[in-house]
C-alpha cells in the first residue's frame, strides 16, 4: 500500500451548497418523501413503537404467569395477547426494523448509492407497512377481540367456525399488506445492491451487512409470496366457502402448516441475517480489525440462506406426516455456517483493541445470548428430542434466546448507526445501564424457561393449576421480563436526555465502511465525495493507509490457540 493518501474522487460535480434539498419540511416532507433516509427513519420509529407495544403485551403475559391460577386476564384475553405479542414482534417489529429501517438507511450509503433503486416503491413499502400494522392492531377494537389462534394461525383453529370475528380477518388483511411491503423492499434491496454500487465497489468489497441484506432480500422474494398465497387461501376458506384447509370439505389442514413454515423458517433467517450483519459491522470497528474470514462469512451467509429453504418441516416433526431424517440433517447442518460465523466474530476480536462502547457491549451480549439459543436449537433439530420438548417452554425459551439476541443486535445497531442517522450520539452511561438490564434481564427471562419446558410446562397456557411447583421459575422469568422492560425505558430516557446534545461528527467510531465517509446525517443524495474503493473498508483505508488488511494467506505463524 502506498503511503500517500488517495485523493477523494468527486462523486458530484455540483457545489455542495447546491446539494441542499429544497423540498417541503415537517409533516409534508414526511408524507411525500422518497428519500431512503427519511423513509428509513419513519420505519425505525414505527418499528420501535411496535417493539414497545409487543413488549407491553409480553409484560402482561409474564405477570399473568407469575402465579399458577392468576386471573389478571381472562383465557380469551390471554390468547389474544400472546397471538398479538408474537405477531407484532415478528411481522411488525423484527423484520421491518431490519430490512425497512436499518437496511433502508444504511445499505445505499454502504455501497455508495444516492438512494434506493426505486424510491417511490420504497415509499409505498413504508405506507403498506404502516397501514398493515394499524390493521393488525385494530383487531383489539372490534367485537370478539383480536386474533387469538397464535401467531402461526394453525388450520383449522383459524377457520371461521373456531375463530369467528373480524379480529382474525384484520390479522390476515394486515399481514397481507405488510407482506407486500416486505416483498417490495426485497425487490428494492436486490436491485439497489446489484445495480447501484459505486465504482470500485465489487461484490466482494461489499460490507458484510450489505451482503447479509442481499441474501435476506433474496429469501424475502422466495418466502413471502408463499405466505401471501397462504393468507389468501385462509381468507377464502373463512369467507368464500373454499375448503383448502378443512377436512369436511376434503381439504388438508396440515397443508397450512407446510405453507406457513415454508415461509416461516426462511423468515427466521430473514429476521436473523440482518442482525448478524449489524453485529459483523460493529465488532470489527470496535476491535479496530477487519472482519476475520470475510469471504468465509459471505459463504456462510449464503449457505444459511440456501439451507433455510429446506428445513421448514422441523417445525412439524410431531405431526407424524413429514420425512424426519431429511429435515433433521438439513436443520443440523445449519449449525455449521452459524458456527463459522461465531468463530469469525471471535476471530475478529482476537488480538484486537476492543473499545467497550454501548454498541460493542450489545454485540458481545448478542454473542452470548445467540450461543445459548443456537445450541438449544441443535437439540430441536433432532426429532426424538423435539418430540420430547415440542410445544413446551423449552422451545419458547430457545427462540426467545434467539430473538432477544436479535434485540441486543438491534440496539447495538441503533447505538452504532443512530449517530449517522441523526447526527447525534446517545449518552453512553445510560446506554450501558440499558445494556446490563437488557443482557441480564434476557438471561433471567429465558433460562428458567428451559427448565420449565423440561419439567413439562406447555406453551400458550394462562394457568398451570396442576403444577404449583412451576411458580418459582415462572416468577424468575417474569423478573427477567420486567428487567427487559426497564431497559426499554432506559432507552427512551436516553433518547430524551441526549436529544441533540452530543454532535457526532462524520466518523465517531473510526468506522470502516462508506457511511462513515459522508456527513452525519448524510446529504440528500448521500455523498459529496467518495474515497477510492479498493477493499471492503474504503473509509478505513482512507484514514489509515498504512494499515490495510493483511494479504490473503499471509497469516500469523502462531495463530489462535
Amino acid at each position: 500500500m502506498t503511503d500517500v493518501l488517495d485523493p477523494p474522487v468527486a462523486a458530484e460535480v455540483h457545489d455542495p451548497a447546491h446539494e441542499e434539498h429544497h423540498g417541503p419540511t415537517g409533516f409534508l416532507k414526511w408524507i411525500t418523501t422518497t428519500d431512503h433516509k427519511v423513509i428509513g427513519m419513519s420505519y425505525t420509529v414505527t418499528a420501535v413503537i411496535m417493539m414497545v407495544i409487543g413488549g407491553a403485551f409480553a409484560e402482561i403475559i409474564r405477570v399473568q404467569l407469575s402465579a399458577p391460577n392468576n386471573s389478571l386476564v381472562s383465557f380469551a384475553q390471554y390468547n389474544e395477547l400472546f397471538t398479538m405479542h408474537g405477531s407484532v414482534m415478528i411481522y411488525l417489529f423484527a423484520g421491518p426494523f431490519a430490512f425497512g429501517a436499518l437496511a433502508n438507511i444504511i445499505v445505499p450509503i454502504q455501497i455508495g448509492a444516492p438512494d434506493m433503486a426505486f424510491p417511490r416503491l420504497n415509499a409505498l413499502s413504508y405506507w403498506l407497512y404502516l397501514t398493515g400494522s394499524i390493521t393488525v392492531l385494530s383487531g383489539f377494537f372490534v367485537a370478539g377481540g383480536a386474533a387469538s389462534f397464535g401467531w402461526v394461525a394453525y388450520a383449522p383453529l383459524s377457520n371461521s367456525i373456531n375463530t369467528p370475528g373480524a379480529g382474525a380477518d384484520l390479522w390476515i388483511g394486515g399481514l397481507l399488506l405488510t407482506g407486500f411491503s416486505a416483498i417490495f423492499t426485497g425487490v428494492n434491496l436486490c436491485a439497489t445492491i446489484f445495480y447501484l454500487r459505486a465504482p470500485g465497489m465489487t461484490m466482494f468489497r461489499m460490507p458484510i451487512f450489505t451482503w447479509n441484506m442481499l441474501v435476506t432480500a433474496i429469501l424475502i422474494l422466495l418466502a413471502f409470496p408463499v405466505l401471501t398465497a397462504g393468507l389468501i387461501m385462509l381468507y377464502c376458506d373463512r369467507h368464500f366457502g373454499t375448503h383448502i384447509f378443512s377436512v369436511p370439505g376434503g381439504g388438508v389442514p396440515v397443508l397450512w402448516q407446510h405453507i406457513f413454515w415454508f415461509w416461516g423458517h426462511p423468515e427466521v433467517y430473514i429476521l436473523a441475517l440482518p442482525f448478524f450483519g449489524m453485529v459483523t459491522e460493529i465488532i470489527p470497528v470496535f476491535s479496530r480489525k477487519p472482519v476475520f474470514g470475510y469471504k468465509g462469512m459471505v459463504f456462510a451467509t449464503m449457505t444459511i440462506g440456501a439451507l433455510s429453504l429446506g428445513v421448514w418441516a422441523h417445525h412439524m416433526f410431531t405431526t407424524g406426516v413429514v420425512l424426519l431424517p431429511f429435515f433433521s440433517i438439513m436443520s443440523l447442518l445449519i449449525a455449521v455456517p452459524t458456527g463459522i460465523k461465531m468463530f469469525n466474530w471471535i476471530g475478529t476480536m482476537w488480538r484486537g483493541e476492543i473499545w467497550f462502547s454501548t454498541a460493542m457491549l450489545m454485540a458481545i451480549g448478542f454473542l452470548f445470548t445467540f450461543l445459548v439459543g443456537g445450541i438449544t436449537g441443535i437439540y430441536l433439530a433432532s426429532p426424538p428430542l423435539d418430540f420430547f420438548t415440542h410445544d413446551t417452554y423449552f422451545v419458547v425459551a430457545h427462540f426467545h434466546s434467539i430473538v432477544m439476541a436479535l434485540v441486543l443486535g438491534a440496539m447495538g445497531g441503533l447505538y452504532y448507526w443512530g449517530p449517522k442517522m441523526t447526527g447525534y450520539l446517545l449518552n453512553e452511561t445510560i446506554g450501558k445501564v440499558q445494556f446490563w438490564f437488557l443482557f441480564i434481564g434476557t438471561q433471567v427471562f429465558t433460562l428458567p424457561g428451559y427448565l420449565l419446558g423440561l419439567r413439562g410446562m406447555p406453551r400458550r397456557v394462562p394457568v398451570y393449576p396442576l403444577h404449583p411447583s412451576w411458580q418459582f421459575l415462572n416468577q424468575l422469568s417474569t423478573v427477567g421480563a420486567i428487567m427487559i422492560g426497564i431497559s426499554t425505558v432506559a432507552f427512551m430516557v436516553n433518547i430524551v436526555y441526549s436529544w441533540k446534545k452530543y454532535p457526532a461528527g462524520d466518523n465517531p467510531w473510526d468506522g470502516h465502511t462508506l457511511e462513515w465517509f459522508t456527513t452525519s446525517p448524510p446529504p440528500h443524495h448521500n455523498f459529496y465525495r467518495l474515497p477510492r474503493i479498493r477493499s471492503e473498508r474504503p473509509t478505513w483505508d482512507y484514514n489509515h493507509p498504512d494499515h490495510a488488511a493483511a494479504e490473503h494467506g499471509h497469516h500469523d505463524k502462531n495463530p489462535v490457540a
Partner: protein
C-alpha cells in the same frame, strides 16, 4: 482456552500445546465414560417408557457435546473480552484470513453434526417403530377433552376439562396408540414418556408406547386448540397385566360405553355438522 503463547520453538511448541488441549478435552469425556450412570441429567429424566429412556440418553449425549462446545466458545469470547481490551491508540495487526483455522472450524462442526445425526437416527428408528402388539387404544382429542377407546373390549373413557380422563395401560407391553382429532390440532403429550405427537384432523397418527414402570403420569394438550387449551389434561395409569385385565373387565360395560360414546359423539360432532352446514350456507 489456551494462552496464545508466542513460543519461539514454533511447531514443536504448537504440538505440545495441542497435546495439552487434547488432554484437557479428553479427561472429562473419559471421566464421564467411566462414571457411566453418573452422567448428569442436564435437566431431563429417564421417564417411564423404553423410548423415553433412549431419548433421555440422546439428550445426555447432546448435552455433553453442547457443554463442551458452549464452554469452549464462552471461554474464547471471555478471553477476547478480557485480554484484548483497548489499552492504547495502537492499531493491531490487520489479520483477516487464516485458512487452516477456518477449515478446522468448518470441518470439525460437520463431523460433530454427522455424529449427532447418527445418534438421532438410531433413537428415532426405535421410537417410530411399530412392533406387533396385543393392546391397541384409540385416542381421540376434541375441544377440550379426550376419549380413549379400547377396541374389542367395549371400554370407552371420556373426559373433558371438568373431569380429567385416564388411560389405563399394562406395563411391559407394547401399546399401540391410534391418535385422531375431531376438530382442531391438539398435542398428545405425556411428560414422563418424553414424547408428544399431534392429533391432526383427517390424519391417523400411530405410535407404540412401552411403559416399563407402573404409576400414574400427567398428560396434557400442548398444541393451542382454543379457549380451554390450558385445561385439557389427562392421566396415564400404567398398571400390572393382571390389574389391567381386571380393569378392562370391570369397565367393559357395553351399554354404558355406548351411552358414553353417544354423549361424546353429540358433544364432539356438534362442531362438525355446524362446520358442514356453515360451509354449505356459504356455498
Amino acid at each position: 482456552m489456551e494462552l496464545p503463547a508466542l513460543s519461539p520453538q514454533g511447531v514443536s511448541a504448537r504440538t505440545r500445546r495441542w497435546r495439552r488441549v487434547r488432554r484437557i478435552v479428553a479427561l472429562p469425556i473419559a471421566a464421564l465414560a467411566l462414571a457411566g450412570c453418573t452422567v448428569p441429567t442436564f435437566g431431563a429424566a429417564p421417564g417411564a417408557t423404553t423410548s423415553s429412556r433412549s431419548v433421555y440418553h440422546l439428550w445426555q449425549g447432546f448435552s455433553i457435546g453442547a457443554a463442551i462446545i458452549g464452554t469452549l466458545v464462552v471461554v474464547l469470547i471471555l478471553w477476547a473480552v478480557i485480554f484484548y481490551r483497548r489499552k492504547s491508540d495502537r492499531i493491531p495487526k490487520q489479520s483477516q484470513y487464516h485458512i487452516p483455522l477456518e477449515l478446522t472450524y468448518t470441518i470439525v462442526p460437520i463431523l460433530i453434526v454427522l455424529g449427532l445425526f447418527a445418534a438421532t437416527i438410531v433413537v428415532e428408528n426405535k421410537e417410530v417403530a411399530n412392533p406387533k402388539t396385543n393392546v391397541t387404544i384409540n385416542v381421540n382429542a376434541f375441544q377440550w377433552g379426550w376419549k380413549f377407546t379400547y377396541p374389542g373390549e367395549n371400554v370407552v373413557v371420556v373426559g373433558q376439562t371438568t373431569q380429567d380422563p385416564e388411560i389405563v395401560m399394562p406395563v411391559n407391553e407394547n401399546v399401540h396408540i391410534n391418535l385422531t382429532s375431531s376438530d382442531v390440532v391438539h398435542g398428545f403429550y405425556v411428560h414422563a414418556f418424553n414424547f408428544s405427537r399431534y392429533a391432526l384432523p383427517g390424519v391417523l397418527n400411530q405410535f407404540t408406547l412401552r411403559a416399563v414402570s407402573t404409576g400414574t403420569y400427567d398428560g396434557q394438550c400442548t398444541q393451542l386448540c382454543g379457549l380451554y387449551h390450558s385445561l385439557m389434561f389427562f392421566r396415564v395409569k400404567v398398571v400390572s397385566q393382571s390389574e389391567y385385565t381386571t380393569w378392562l373387565a370391570s369397565n367393559a360395560n357395553a351399554s354404558a360405553a355406548q351411552a358414553a360414546q353417544k354423549a361424546t359423539n353429540q358433544q364432539t360432532s356438534s362442531v362438525v355438522p355446524t362446520k358442514t352446514s356453515k360451509s354449505e350456507e356459504n356455498n
